[in-house]
Symmetry: C2
Amino acid sequence: MFKALADGTRRTILDELTEQDGQTLFEICARLATKHGLASSRQAISQHLDALESAGLVRTSREGRYKFHHIDTAPLEPIVERWLAERPGR
Amino acid sequence: MFKALADGTRRTILDELTEQDGQTLFEICARLATKHGLASSRQAISQHLDALESAGLVRTSREGRYKFHHIDTAPLEPIVERWLAERPGR
DNA sequence: TTGACATGCAAGTCGTCACTTGCCTATCGT
DNA sequence: ACGATAGGCAAGTGACGACTTGCATGTCAA
């Protein structure tokens, strides 16, 4: 999961899904290109989405030929807690 | 910074520094080997510490021939916030 | 001052990762 | 049915990352 976050393009994808959840692969490609200036290929984005899904950060739902991608921030929550648990004031 | 967290050994180092802050390189080496079962060389740990320091997660202080490593969790805090900022109830 | 201790530097190796390339499957509209 | 759209699979390439190896620097105790 930390490895999934290690790539800047994947973090931008999470940004994009935070702004508008449930996008398809092509929608994400288009918005990354226009809004974020990233010129990544469809296959590259697809592989990034696979990585994010394997990490549990993205869940997918199929409807016909469309596959919608939803962000899931649950795996992120233990991150900060992990290294601040034994410190006072938390 | 996310790349610094992508490595499991580095995350274990942060765990160790959370448990006992201000350790030297050799102390970290010893405790990783005994408590966490990691058989990493001194040089490997040293390079991991460099990576963590570059990421701002570790700060160092020198005293004579000893170099103490202190964890700094400040860079971790924006992580979760980044992708939950615009969602309700947060 | 000399040897042991704690750390630093740099080149090289090997595996992994991001990306491409090429082709394939599936679904929808007409 | 046929073309167009949305997505999937897999091999190959180039670069980066983790680790090793070997030596060098700096510090302290005796």
